[in-house]
Symmetry: C2
Subunit: 140 residues, 2 copies
C-alpha cells in the first residue's frame, strides 16, 4: 500500500445516514433511506447517502446484500466481523448468523478446486414465526 488513508471529516450528513440506518428495522436501499431522511426534513443529497452507506459498509458498520431484483440493501450491523443473515421475506426481520461450518466449507472447497481470493454470498430467507402466525391459512 502507498496511500496513507486520509482522515474522514465529521459531517452531519455522515451521522444522519448512520442514525437513519440504525433506526431502520431491517435492510433498506439507499433510495429508501434517502427518502426517509428527506421525509424527516433533511436536505441531504442522494449521492451523499450512497457514499455514506458505501462507507459504512466498507468499514464494517453496515452489512450489505443484493436483493433478488438487484438492489443493494444495507443494514446497521451490530455484530463485529464477518457474518451472514437470516431474513424474513415478508417483513424484513433479520437475524445475524455465525456460520463457522459454512466459512470452513467455503475455504476448503475453494482450495480443493485451486481457487484463491475466495468470496462468498450466503443468505438465508424464510418466513418468520410472526408473519406465519398473522398470515395463517392465507397460503399460496
Amino acid at each position: 500500500m502507498s496511500t496513507t488513508a486520509q482522515p474522514k471529516r465529521n459531517t452531519w450528513q455522515r451521522e444522519a445516514v448512520r442514525a437513519a440506518l440504525a433506526e431502520a428495522r431491517g435492510f433498506v436501499s439507499a433510495q429508501q433511506l434517502h427518502q426517509r431522511l428527506r421525509d424527516g426534513g433533511s436536505t441531504i443529497g442522494l449521492a451523499t447517502v450512497y457514499r455514506g452507506l458505501a462507507g459504512l459498509a466498507e468499514s464494517g458498520e453496515a452489512d450489505s446484500l443484493q436483493s433478488p431484483d438487484g438492489e443493494n440493501l444495507f443494514r446497521s450491523c451490530s455484530t463485529q466481523g464477518h457474518h451472514h443473515h437470516l431474513i424474513c421475506r415478508s417483513c424484513g426481520e433479520t437475524r445475524e448468523l455465525e456460520a463457522r461450518v459454512v466459512e470452513e466449507w467455503a475455504q476448503r472447497v475453494g482450495a480443493e478446486h485451486g481457487f484463491t481470493d475466495m468470496e462468498h454470498v450466503v443468505d438465508l430467507f424464510g418466513i418468520c414465526a410472526n408473519c406465519r402466525a398473522s398470515r395463517g391459512a392465507a397460503g399460496a
Copy 2:
C-alpha cells in the same frame, strides 16, 4: 392457475441461444453471449438473447445468479436438482457443488429461529488456477 400457457414457437434464435449457452464454459451474461453470437456471424438481437435466457432460466434449463457487481449471469446447467456453484470472477469458469453441510446448516438455523419456507443463496467466487497463472505478477 387460469392462464393456459401458450405454445412456444420454434425459432432459430431460441436454439442459437441454447446452443451458445451450452458451449460457454461457465456463467455468462446476456451481453457476453450476444457478442459471441454476433462474432459467430449471427444477426440475433440483444433483446432476443435476454428473452431467450430468461426463458431457459424459467424452465430450469439454465441456472442464473447475480454477480457481485449486479449482472445477471446464466449457465447451461446439467446437474439435476438443487446445487451451488464456485465461479471464477475472472473467466467465469464454474464448478457445480454439493453442499450437504450447508444445506443442513441452513435448515437447522432456520428452524432454530422459528423460520419456515427456507430458501438460501450460496455462491462461491474466486480466481481459478488458470487465471492466477496467466495474471501472475501483474498485481493490482
